[in-house]
Subunit: 86 residues, 4 copies
């Protein structure tokens, strides 16, 4: 079976409603620098990788498993996966 290479971009974000000290720090910092009208700042992680998979469904399943097993904290974070052929 042919194996295709995919690029995955995983966005990991603090779950809404939970505390996000890093986001709060950035929000206050922007205020201190006189950026006005900024609110709702959140700081998450952006993980990019290349992955060999049978097809798009397979790539998505593997990405999903990586997030659940390692990349994201299931208690405090949400994740979303975007993928395309490399």
């Amino acid at each position: 079976m042919t194996v295709t290479e995919y690029r995955l971009e995983v966005r990991i974000t603090p779950r809404e409603g939970l505390l996000d000290p890093e986001g709060k720090a950035v929000e206050h910092a922007l205020q201190a620098l006189s950026f006005e009208g900024v609110q709702g700042v959140s700081v998450g992680r952006l993980i990019r990788l290349r992955l060999a998979a049978d097809d798009e469904g397979d790539a998505r399943r593997k990405g999903d498993e990586m997030c659940r097993k390692l990349l994201a904290n299931p208690v405090t974070e949400d994740y979303a996966i975007a993928l395309e052929e490399a």
Copy 2:
């Protein structure tokens, strides 16, 4: 003048060619968990915020200025801004 609220999503990524120990750690961890065919892992930050601005151009200029003054390290990181009306 009317002020519009925009959502900005800022992707901050380690500049290609520079060392990225976090990316390397995640890549090795995925191998240790038997995820095969993974390479080129990079770990960056994903910052989301809402911003009041005159128009889309104004929102982009402000986002750009935030990145240069505070959010990204101009020596080691690249950034990209996506925006939409809130």
Copy 3:
């Protein structure tokens, strides 16, 4: 009154018993690199700063307030402050 400058070192650590995906990633990565006999890896933050204060007690109170208001997540993280005169 004389004001003294202090150096503060704040250790912020994931609360024991909670999930720590970054710690897990580093632990797996060390295994993948053939470091044996490693366990219990946790990844926290280390914040250093200089602070003007009336005396050591005042410096500690201010450091404590910074942690509770901004630096640490009171739900998921613990912190400890070490200080010395600069």
Copy 4:
């Protein structure tokens, strides 16, 4: 040979003189929250782990190797290792 368990605490800090956007963000945020007399903020990482080793010298050598191979960015970060018997 008897193997002993050690606790290692690794402090990883941005190299002095290099840019530290996270430290700058925290410094501005503290100012926005009216903490006065704060300067020189840096944000690093604090990694704790337990490690089986022959003796203290062996534990230190292994910790050092972990830092050079995975934990710290040799171009932009410094590290220091503290250890004790578990």
